[in-house]
């Protein structure tokens, strides 16, 4: 007998039938075809499945779907708006921080949560966030650069917005 719950995914309210013990990753990929979120290990070590749930970065492979009634879920597909990349995505391109790109969506979502909650994140904060992810291609340097670039651009953008509001 299927069960049902309602939650918001990438800004759209969705009512979803499920069996019982599915993970969020399974629902996203197999039920909703949101395949930008990746399977890498299935036990929360590689970070490829990271999405943002109620403002926090989580490993969707370890998140039970049944507990998500009313939750707000953001995946990589929900980040670019009207064909315009999010500053974090743009920073990954500009810093050439994408090689095979399999770990990229998860890392971008982790950084999105970090910079939303802590716009002034320090280098240590960034390193801590990235330590939840494995990348076999880049040697991480370009990813660290991209993260700092994104943080600085987001801060700059926020400052400009504030100045604009004051005027």
């Amino acid at each position: 007998m299927d069960r049902v719950l309602t939650l918001t995914i990438n800004g759209v309210k969705r009512t979803i039938y499920y069996e019982g013990n599915e993970t969020l990753l399974e629902i996203l990929r197999e039920k909703l075809n949101l395949t930008g979120t990746k399977f890498g290990c299935g036990y929360g070590v590689c970070g490829a499945c990271t999405v943002v749930v109620n403002g926090e970065a989580v490993n969707s492979c370890k998140t039970a779907f049944r507990n998500l009634e009313g939750a707000e879920v953001l995946t990589i597909e929900g980040l670019a708006k009207d064909g315009k990349l999010h500053p974090i995505q743009q920073a990954f391109i500009d810093a050439n921080a994408v090689q095979c790109g399999f770990c990229t969506p998860g890392i971008i979502m982790r950084l999105y949560a970090l910079f939303t909650n802590n716009p002034d994140a320090s280098e240590d904060d960034i390193m801590e966030a990235l330590s939840h992810h494995l990348c076999r291609c880049t040697g991480y340097e370009s990813i660290i650069t991209a993260a700092k670039l994104a943080r600085d651009r987001l801060m700059e953008g926020a400052k400009l917005a504030q100045q604009y509001m004051k005027k």
Binding site: L85, I93, Q99, C100, G101, F102, T104, R136, G139, I144
Partner: protein, 777 residues
Amino acid sequence: MAFKYVGRDIQRPDAIERVTGKAIFIDDIRLPHMLHAKVLRSKYAHARIVSIDTSEAESMPGVYKVITGRDREPIYYGDLIKDKTPLAVDKVRHIGDAVAVVVADTERHARRALNKIKVEYEPLPVYVDALDAMKDGAVLIHENSDKYFRVSDFYRPVPNTNIATKYEIHKGDVRQGFEDADLVLEREFNFSHMSSAAIEVHAAISLVKEDGTVEVWTTNVGPFVVRETVAEMFGIPISDVRVHVPYIGGCFGYKSDPSIEPLVAYISSFVPGYPVKLRLTREEDFTSTLIGRGIRERVKIGVTKEGKFTAFEAELYLSTGAYADTGAPVIVGAVQSSGGAYEFPNAHVVGYLVYTNTPPVGALRAYGHPEPQFALERMVDIIARELGISPMELRRKNFLKEGRRNVVGEVFKSSDGDLFKCLANVEEAIFSGEKPKEDKDYYYGRGLAALIKAPIAPPFAAKSCHIKFNVDGSVSVNMSGADVGQGLFTEVRQIAAEALKMPPEKVRVYTEIDTQFSPWEWQTVGSAFTLQGGNAIIKAANKAIRMLKETASKVLKRDIEVLEYDGEYVYDKSYPSVRVAVKDICRGYVTEDGTVIGDVVQVSADFRMPGAQRPDPKTGMGRTGVSYTMGVQGCEIRIEKKTGKVIVDKFATSLDVGKVISPSNIRGQVLGGSLMGLGEALTEGIRFDSNGKIVNANLVKYKLPTVYDIPKEHIVKFVETPDAIGPFGARGMAEHPVIGVPPAILNAIYDAIGHDFYEVPVTPEKIKDALEKGGKS
């Protein structure tokens, strides 16, 4: 020569798809009618299968088919040695071997049914190490290994042993060489098995259609080899198999030979008309694809007191696992590269490819090179110490350079690269200042290692390029190189733009490989794409330009020799205003009387390594490498006294790459490759228990380097000695940064604590152990 687009960074053409989650990887493909497979894996490393009972599984919900290796006459496959069947028939030979398969409507249903299959085994002795499997009286892992089809006599087995094949090289007179030596040193080394461990696990989809043709989707960088293997398995023409390669989430070697594709194709043949998908678990990705490395080596080197090498002797033992097909090139490559970046006037090297009860060994970044060059570069440091000369000086005395020959007898030219400059760069980066003094918490050490590698590929290996000029003068480039993250598409775009003299934005590189549309190539392996693919692009570009000029010559009524092409126009060199637009030629140039001049501008070209040879069957010698890339790596490390942990403060890599095509991509290759090397040196390593079980077949215990493990500083310097055959002088380099890391680190560990390690990985526990047993205190 001044370049316009080569040598500077352009945006990766595939970057936006990859940051938005829109890049389609294999697991993202959904086909109508698709079924899912799960594989029952052997829990025994070596056992006879007594019985398999699938009756209960067959009646589980959603199950379409349960398949065992006994359902049909066995099919043996393999590229060089046909020793493997898709499913185990009478025996299992490693933990993770495929025993039975459930095909169901969903993965969950397949998994549930899998638990209901009952298998009875009769265990046999287990060998996880080549040296044990080679002992007298060892049980044969393949009883009929001499009956397997082999592509040539080159791969013949030693009858009634577990030796799947043996490869030997003889250069000069090694006995005399040792007599001429003032010092002879002998040591034994062990390079543990490793996993490529890409973040994307293996998966494949196969559809056997009702008309008997087959379509396969796979994470494999050798779709044309997959196509040949599948066609041969089913006895159908190669042209009846179509293989698609979507985006690949990292390869690092283990996605280059067919591994799970023959199994998936076999499975799908039991349910014609249904695409069947198999996506492995992370554990299966360790146990049931291909692992790498796993070579033991005994090395003996003779040297004069002045530091000139006189003789090199080595025996290499590759624990190749349950099936030898994909390990054969590894042992051949290892023997050929065993003399490293040095000249040994006399050499005798034997490599043994030995069946063991472990997952099969295959390619892993630079396979066959990190293993023997780890042994060699450690030896060079130890010899320097014994002779009392600096490790740099000893290297300089023996480096390969113009006129010198490597162990397979290939003569080096000055255009092959400059090891001396690479060494000077690393000396300056690492050794120019004072080494930090030991303090309360840390020991400090420095080390270095040289490296060399050519592609390991059969002489027939080639890359091809199709160039199509569109009617607006833009260009489509179709090749079969897989961009596994190295930036291949970017490089194709840059080289094509340079060769066609047009901005990169006008060049579109096809991103999906499909054997139905893509030109033939062997595999995207061996760091060979830049050299071979780049040359194929230039050849194709020149053909296209020639065609444009031929048409222009008729249009402008000028001899072809006086015409020049600039990407937009073909014009008379002396009178540039006499010109015709490229796009007008491409559309089909219409003359005054309404007829059309010229051919459609689309061309193809390919490139094989000029002069590449199979080694001579008697001496093992020959022109097997053709294009070598050399370099030096070095490091400054710190060892934490309390924990034994190695911290890399500074790392330096200098490679002679001939010509840098894309600065930020090439730096990415060096940083990613050397971090992989650090993993091999310090944290990775597949560990087997005595039953043949991998005790760390997961990403918790198999420790891939994280962001906290990167060197605090990495100095990367390229030397650019133009290559004689490389496109714009460029050489391959993507695997190379992994090679010098383990010996450089272990040489630095000796420098720090005075203890020689002969095996990787060197974990903190091993260092603590060495410290307690009388290293520095």
